[in-house]
């Protein structure tokens, strides 16, 4: 504190107000749980879960067929990883499942976007098409699997169809919701500029709706995985779903676990691709983020 400032504070104390010159600065403390750095928190949680898992298996609380030990599982993860890297039969299965997921996702996005625009942009779509879509969406879609197999056979197409079927609806709803997100002022602005319906759709409504559309894509990217694997469970074939089913029937639980972990990498890759694309395309909207990835 400068001498001058000190003199002023001393002078101010003439009215009986005591100022001993000490600032009344205090520090606001976050609770301990909010102060843990991300990597420590993630690693800590991982260690805790694996530790609990180790304790449960070491004490023979559950049978190894139900829950293998972490070490067994880790050994199998390495084995499957080796098989994948050396181009073994599991790599072929992974490629089959990946293609199923990608085809299913592509169809879901194309179909969902088209239907979403129909529903969101036209009164006919909103009044006539949407009720049917809602009706179909409320059905348990997995129940359609036998139909797809009967129509498309035991090859990849019946799995692609189920995956696309499950993933289409979130894209429809989010696309339509995005088109509704335009404010009245924005609509009047485009109207006052004499914009055509197509111009208003392409230059205003679709860009405004992009964040909604991507929310739908994220849900679809998760759904398409579930659809593809369910299809492979029920319709056989050569994908990872079939490998999981076979391993489970052989009571090879560690294999089931490691296959699921590799599958989760596939799902995560698709999800993160969508997130990356969203960040690239919607540079003006930085909200909508949980933990930096959602």
């Amino acid at each position: 504190m400068s001498t001058q400032a000190k003199m002023q504070t001393r002078a101010a104390s003439a009215d009986g107000f005591q100022d001993d010159g000490a600032d009344t600065v205090w520090i606001e403390q976050d609770p301990f749980i909010d102060r843990i750095p991300r990597w420590v928190a993630m690693l800590g949680l991982f260690v805790a879960i694996v530790g609990l898992w180790q304790v449960v298996t070491a004490l023979d609380i559950v049978s190894p067929i139900v829950l293998p030990s972490p070490a067994e599982t880790w050994a199998d993860i390495l084995f499957v990883g080796n098989n994948l890297l050396t181009g073994g039969h599991m790599l072929d299965a992974l490629i089959t499942t990946s293609l199923t997921v990608l085809y299913g996702f592509a169809i879901a996005v194309a179909l969902g976007f088209s239907l979403g625009v129909l529903v969101g942009e036209t009164k006919f779509g909103e009044r006539a098409v949407m009720p049917y879509l809602v009706a179909i969406d409320t059905m348990p879609k997995v129940a359609f699997a036998p139909l797809f197999i009967a129509w498309l056979g035991f090859g990849i197409s019946s799995k692609v169809a189920l995956a696309a079927f499950i993933a289409t609806f979130p894209v429809v709803v989010s696309t339509a919701a995005g088109l509704y997100a335009v404010s009245e002022n924005e609509r009047f602005l485009f109207k006052s500029m004499g914009a055509s319906r197509l111009q208003t759709l392409v230059r205003l409504k679709l860009p405004i709706g992009l964040p909604y559309f991507f929310t739908g894509l994220k849900i679809a990217s998760v759904g398409v995985m579930a659809g593809a694997i369910t299809g492979e469970f029920l319709g056989g074939g050569e994908g990872f779903g079939a490998l999981i089913r076979i391993s489970a029937s052989q009571l090879n639980t560690p294999r089931v676990f490691s296959l699921i972990i590799y599958l989760s990498f596939l799902g995560l890759a698709l999800y993160l691709t969508v997130v990356w694309l969203q960040a690239r395309l919607i540079f003006w909207n930085k909200t909508d983020k949980i933990g930096g990835i959602a």
Partner: protein, 271 residues
Amino acid sequence: MTDQSLHDTATAKPAVERPVFQISRLSKIYQRNRFTALSDVNLTLRKGEFASVIGSSGCGKSTLLKIMAGLMPPSSGRVVLDGRPVMGPREDIGMMFQQATLLPWKTALENIVLPIEIREGKAAARRYRDRAQDLLDLVGLARAADVYPSELSGGMAQRVSICRMLISDPSVLLLDEPFSALDELTRDFMNMELQRICMERRATAFLVTHSIPEAVILSDKIYVMQSNPGHVAEVIDIDLPRPRTLEMINTAKFGAIVGHIRGKLEKEAKA
């Protein structure tokens, strides 16, 4: 407040300018709920005139503006701009909204040339870039051309939307409570800016507002509207000299006009 006193000032206008906007016998009935929003509205906007319409919410002032902008058809009556009836949105009408309504994925400059891009395509919009830059200079945002709306304050964003309104050189400006979302200090400043721009360009402007001082400081003529059904209850000529300054708000004359309008609107609120 006689017509004569207006011409005593330094910025006196010729006795009668040509009419730009003519509205006669205008009514609007919403068929959906048989609600009469406007009943027998008549008004004439002359070249270079700044008119305001003031009234409580629900008096039909926004409906009036939308009909004038060609965004909504009237139920009966006649709306003519520059000799041609208004039968839809027109290039020679400039509009400003309560919010700046800038597209967040376009820079300030790209937002300004948007009306050109929509009407005449991207090539034409490129030719207008220099003009857009001149307009940014006019509103004091010379260096904001490549800035995205998220980096602009509310007042700056509204200034960009003024430029967007002016880019196609409209013959009338329709302003729908343009600064009502801004804080009071910014709002005063923007009103003075708006006056300067309108005077420089001899613009014909029509402002919808619910702020009485704002209407008085900006306008040559104020239409006081009342509701049920929406109609013009009184037309007041404001003969304060131009350019108006914020200091005028403290004068007795200004206070008298504000008091008169407030009385008119309050009478309705109590009724």
